[in-house]
Structures are given as C-alpha cells and as structure tokens.
Symmetry: C2
Subunit: 443 residues, 2 copies
C-alpha cells in the first residue's frame, strides 16, 4: 500500500507559530487541553460520523520540523534564532483522547481532546481541524446516502470533482467507512485497499464506428466484467444494443453484469430499460445509475419507483455540496491548573477536560449522550473517548479499515431511524452532567 | 521551495484504465482531441479564472507508472500482462493547448484541449478535471471577493477547513492569483513563495492571567508586528486594553499594526473600535476582521459602513461554499479523422478542435468572445488558447506566480463591471463562429 502523504508541521496557520514564538519568549510551557468539536450544527445534520483519526495519529507520532522547514521559517524574518533551534528539536509529546473512527457523534460533543505543552497543542490545531473536520463531514454525508439507498450498493465516483487530490483519497476512505461498496479512485484502491470499480465513459462508445460495435468490443476485453454505458446517443437504442451484445455474451458462456444510465429521467428510463432486459430474458442484467446523486436524489428516485440496482455517487457527496464545511473548532478548555472558556458572542465554549457518555437500552439502542467531565462517575453510559496517544506514542495498532467500517455499521444500527432522517431535524438528546454544568457556572 | 506532491497516473478513475485496456486489446491507438470546459453555468457565475495549468504540465511531463503502480494493478486481476507491460512503458506524448493561468473565461469555452493517442488522452482525464476544475473555481470565487473588497487587502485564512491538505495549498495559490495579499498557510508560503500572515488566537489571550497581560506579552515578542485579537471576552474592553498596550508600544518607539475582530456585529463593532482608537490618537492602528467573510458578507458590511481595513477570508471561500464544485467536463471532440460529439440529454457537446477568440475595444476592454475552430481565420479577436505542450514536453518555462497574478489583474481591469456583479447574472457575450456552427450541423 502507498502511504498517505504526510503534511508536516508547516501545515499550519502562521498564528500558531507566532503564538508559539511568544510562549517560548515568555517561557510559557505549561500543559493545556484543547477540545475539538462541531460547534454549531448549522445545517441541522442529525448526526456525524468520526473519521480521520488514523491520519492524525500518524502525523503526530512523526511530528518534526525538517531542516528545510526551519530554513524557510528563518527566511520569513519573523522568528528568533533561539525559537527556531527550539522548534528544530520539538516533537509531539502529548496525550490524546479520541472517539474511534466510525463512532457516531453529535454537535458540541468533543470528538478529540489533546493534552500537551501549550506550544505543541497549539501548533497542531490547523492540521487536526482540517483532518478530522473534512473526513468526518464526508463520512457523515455518505452515511446519509447509505441510509436511504437501502441494500443498493453505492460507489464513490467523485474523484474528478473533489477539492484537490488529497480530498479525493479521503472521500474514498470516508465513504467506504460509511458503507460504500467501492470507489472509482484507483490510487485510493492502492492506498487503502478499497475495492475499485468502473467500466466505460461516453468517449469509449464514440471511439468506435457504432455503439453496438463499442459494446461488443468491450465485452471481448472484459467478458465477465462489463457494464455498458447506454446513454451516449439514445438510452432506449442503447438498451437494445446492450441486449444484442448480452445475448451474444450468453452464447459464449459469459454474462453482462449491467448497464449504466448517466443522464435523463432516471425513474422513467430505468423502468423502461428494466422492461427491455426482462422481456429479453435478461433479468440478471443490473441497472447502474450515475447522475448527480446524493441522499436527496437517491430518496426521490427510489420513492418514484426507479428500477436501479446500484448507484455511482459523485460530486455532490465528494464535496458535501449542501454542507461543504463543518463548523469544527479546537478550543482550549484547561490550562495549567485552571479550566478556561471563551465568551465571544455566539462562540461560547465549555470549560474542562471532558468525556462523552452514551446511554443505551438493553438492546444496545442509543438513548442519550451525556457530556461530562473526564473523571465523572456515571452509573450508566459508555465512555466514547478513548486514550489513543500518550507521550506522543500511538497506544494501539490502528484498526483495519474493514474493522472501522464494521464498527460504523454496528453503531448505525443502534441509532433510531428518526435521527437518520435526511429531511427532518430531530435532535438526539445530548445533556451535560451536573459536574460539568457546575464547572461552567464557576469558570 | 517545496515541490507540490505529484499525483501519479493512478490518480484516475478505474474506467480510464479499463477503457485503455480495451483500446489496447483492439489496437486502437489513434489520436483523439479532448476539450475541457465548464458545461453548465449552474450557479450563473458571470466569469471564471483559469488556474491549475502549472500542476497539469508538471504532472504530464513526468507521467509514468511506477513498478509499484503496475504491481498494484496486477493484484486487481482486471488487466492482462501485455497491457500492464504496455502501461509500464507509457509516457504522455501529446499536445496541449490551454489558456494561461489568470485568464478570464466563460462557460462552454474550452480552457484546455489535449490531442494525444486516445489511451493517453483518456488516462489523464480525472486528473485534469480535478486540477483545473478546483483551482479555477477557487480563483473565480476569490476574484469576486477582490472585486467587492476594493483596496482592502484580503488574506486567506481557510486552511483549517479546506477539503483536505492539497486543497489548502491550492486555495492559497489560487486566491493569491486572484489578488489576495497573503495566506495564513505556512506550507503554502514555503511551496509557492506567497506572503504569510497571522498573529494570535483566543487561546493565546486565555493563556495569560488577563487580556491586558496577553497583549503586552505579545507586543514584547513582536514589537513591530502585532495584531491583537480583541473579542475573547468583550470587544469593547478588548479595544481599551489594546489602546493601553499600543500607547506603551509607542513610548518604546514601536507601533501596533492593528486589532482583529472575529465575532459579533462587524459594522457596529468596527465603528466603535475605530472611534476608540481615533479618540486615543491611534488612527494608524488598523482594524482587521475575520468572521465568515465571503463576497456577500464583504459587500454587506462595507455597504453598511464598517470601518474595516483588511479582511481574513476563510472557510466560505476556501471551499467555495455557495458553489463547491464546477460542472467541468472533458469531452472527446475529434477522433482519428472525424469530429465527434455526444448527444445525451442536457449534455450535448460541441465537436471539433477549437480556439477561443477574444474581441476587445481600442482600450483593450473585452467586448465578446467567439468560440471557433482552431484554424478559423478571424479579422479581430485574440486567440486565448496557447500551445503549451508538444510531444509531451513543456514548451515554455512556467510563468512566475507573480506574473500570473499580474496577468489576472490586467485582464480583470478589462472586464466590464457588470460582469463582475456578484448578485446579478449578466451573460458575457460568447458566440460560435460560423465554421464551428456549420460543423455541428454536419456532425
């Protein structure tokens, strides 16, 4: 497998470094705890899915400024020689509590907490927000699609329109965590071992003298692995051509996997195409569809009776088009011997090192969460934040991507359907423990 | 400078490779031309700004499957040994016409055309769309902000919320092309030589016993380079504390650059804070603002009389929140000896190898564009697509980022203000030449 490209410590906002320089100048090295959470559920998403922790841990375990990094910082003229020498020797030595990837969480719940000397805890802010925020956003969006698609497999087709290269790979991984069956992204297949999928574009059809010739040519290259794209000229004619070739394939002991619709009225076309294949005795040929799908369009076409067996889901999920960012923040909640919080209008944060406790019924179905202090004693309620790093060392081997995917699937089954609604906002109950509540009043 | 991470040829959708395998099996090696353009101006953006070409050319000039890549493809079981041997020896040998970065363009205009053996032209599709699409989208969004901000400097603050790491760097570069003054992204500073900017976060203020102590501490570390964040507890008190420290700095022969507002009513607060500083004889202290700014909010607060000197522009521009993807496509327009086009409903493309001709008045102000055939003879009209690659070799050295930025600035001055409107859709006139029009009728 290819390793993900490492960001390095310069993947940061300049102010993290200027603050660090000032802390260094004033010899402020005390320990701080920062809490990472989604502040404002600005889109009224009912739930989120934690993702990105593996990248975070790998990055922090290797945190180190290179000679080149230090040289560049020197050229900016902003930093003292002493501070740069200090940076050159700096490693991440902190402790991290985090929800495992695949955990379902809600707004205001800390998904990760960092305790480290303030300079270290500060320098990693930008990277943590970018990594956890983006991957969790995509996993959450993908989970919504999975929910509405029922047992129809979904395939990530977004690579051409993701926001840059890294996004493409993380979308493949995050959608796979949420239950997507495969990705079209070959490099993500190599990086993460995700199944890859895809067959032909319109240009393939156009490169032959006719659609029939194109289908036939393709079936000869991939006799057991063909899905024909049938809308290059006219979908109905395309279906008839596909039938002709599928019958030819049958004669030779092979079978056509399916056809793909990529434009037009998905409900009407899929029904007509289904009928064409059924009438031709080819009920085993599946109908794939790809055409601006997201959770909303999937819901709509299924409700209207589309005969679609599997869906390629692209751009709108790959950029989370209706919610292309999460209001994810990283706030200091404890410093030295005191709990701290910010009071900026609309941006008040909860002081104190925390834990999230999840209460379930006897069948494991989620009832409510309680955000408490990390050392709160709860009669019931499973703590969701686990210690995953200590003294800058990763504590457990990373779970496999398959294990993360399985965890999410298990968790998702425990979440009541009303919180899975893509259209209605139903607030899952999240309370504060009384010790946490009291702390806010006294801070 | 750090080189941008190279994507490699596996940065592709699987179907590019399966089509290639089938072309190979059928010995289809003829030359094809593909055209990259924004199909549907789904958001009625008036104009776009071309960006991403440098990455495209660097990638294609180095196009080569590694041994590891081939090994991975082998493990998928999809491809024949012969085809994999062929891939191992494959280099990009094609020709590219493209609009230089910083060029203003419009929907349906090809921003790039590739002519190459069909397998090569096909394999690079996903990468080209991702690269040109995303960077052009961000440059276009940033240009809208630049237009409404007037002479107020804008600074890219988006890194924590961009969609992954690569996006963060490309946002820094693309916003700089459009005229942003700086970025908070330190690694982008190193990669591209973009000025970097930033001073302090709320946590810095909270790490000291009081806001006053925090400001004072910061001013000692950066006596000539301080911008205080004044909204951690109460903006008015923060302004008074900043005044106290600014006066102290003056006594010591230094001066406070500015203060930053990050929450609350930007109009009211900026006016009040301005008055506090003016009354204190500190009219040179600038007011920076950062708080969900995009072209819409910038326009609004300026119209309402905000006293803001410079703006940090973050998330909403970094993900192009109102238009997080462009409908950018890559379509075959010529194959072997024939022009081709697709007729899928709503997705009809223009056949033929093309050129875009821009007509201007005697002062250089843009009048209209004509999309023509590449060999059309025009009395007037400057061709916008330049040959930038031949036989897989880059033809000219890359222009510097500064030169690209200057080109955009010059071009943008030639675009009539009505096409810069962020609220009204005004379609810049784009016509088809009669030879191109005739070709469509005969294809």
């Amino acid at each position: 497998m290819t390793k993900a490209h490492r960001a390095g410590p310069l993947f940061t906002d300049l102010y993290e470094l200027t603050m660090a320089a000032s802390y260094f100048a004033h010899q402020v090295f005390s320990t701080a705890t920062f809490s990472l959470f989604i502040r404002e559920n600005y889109l009224q998403r009912n739930f989120f899915v934690a993702a990105g922790l593996e990248d975070v841990l790998n990055e922090l375990a290797a945190f180190c400024f290179s000679e080149q990094d230090i040289k560049y910082l020197q050229t900016t003229g902003i930093f003292s020689k002493d501070f740069l020498s200090y940076l050159a020797g700096l490693r991440f030595s902190g402790e991290i509590f985090a929800m495992p990837e695949g955990t379902i969480f809600f707004a205001n719940e800390p998904v990760l907490e960092v305790t480290a000397p303030i300079i270290e805890a500060q320098l990693i802010e930008t990277f943590l927000l970018n990594t956890i925020g983006f991957q969790s956003m995509i996993a959450s969006k993908a989970a919504r699609c999975i929910h509405v698609a029922g047992d129809r497999p979904l395939i990530d087709f977004s690579l051409r329109r993701t926001q840059g290269q890294d996004a493409g790979h993380k979308v493949a991984r995050s959608t796979y965590i949420a239950g997507f069956a495969a990705t079209s992204n070959v490099l993500a297949g190599k990086m993460y071992g995700i199944p890859i999928s895809g067959t032909m574009a319109h240009s393939y059809v156009e490169a032959f003298s006719s659609e029939l010739v194109a289908f036939s040519a393709y079936s000869k290259t991939f006799p057991d692995n063909s899905i024909f794209l049938i809308d290059t000229y006219n979908t109905m004619d395309g279906a008839e051509n596909a039938v002709t070739v599928a019958k030819e394939m049958k004669k030779n002991g092979h079978s056509l996997i399916g056809v793909r619709l990529d434009s037009g009225d998905m409900v009407d076309l899929s029904q007509k195409v289904r009928k064409i294949f059924d009438d031709a005795g080819l009920s085993d040929v599946k109908i794939f569809a790809s055409s601006g799908f997201d959770e909303f369009k999937i819901t709509k076409v299924i409700a209207e009776g589309a005969k679609i067996d599997a869906l390629g889901v692209g751009t709108k999920v790959g950029v989370s088009a209706d919610a292309p960012y999460l209001d994810v923040v990283y706030k200091m909640v404890h410093f030295k011997d005191r709990d701290v919080r910010k009071l900026s209008p609309g941006k008040i944060t909860l002081a104190g090192e925390k834990q999230v406790f999840r209460k379930s019924d006897q069948n494991g179905r989620y009832l409510e969460d309680v955000i408490g202090l990390r050392d709160d004693i709860m009669d019931q309620g499973k703590p969701l934040l686990k210690k995953v790093m200590e003294n800058g060392k990763i504590l457990q081997p990373h779970p496999s991507l398959q294990a993360i995917r399985d965890r999410f699937k298990k968790n998702f089954a425990m979440l009541d359907d009303r919180y899975k609604s893509i259209l209605e906002y139903n607030a899952y109950p999240v309370k504060l423990s009384s010790p946490l509540q009291k702390l806010q009043e006294s801070t």
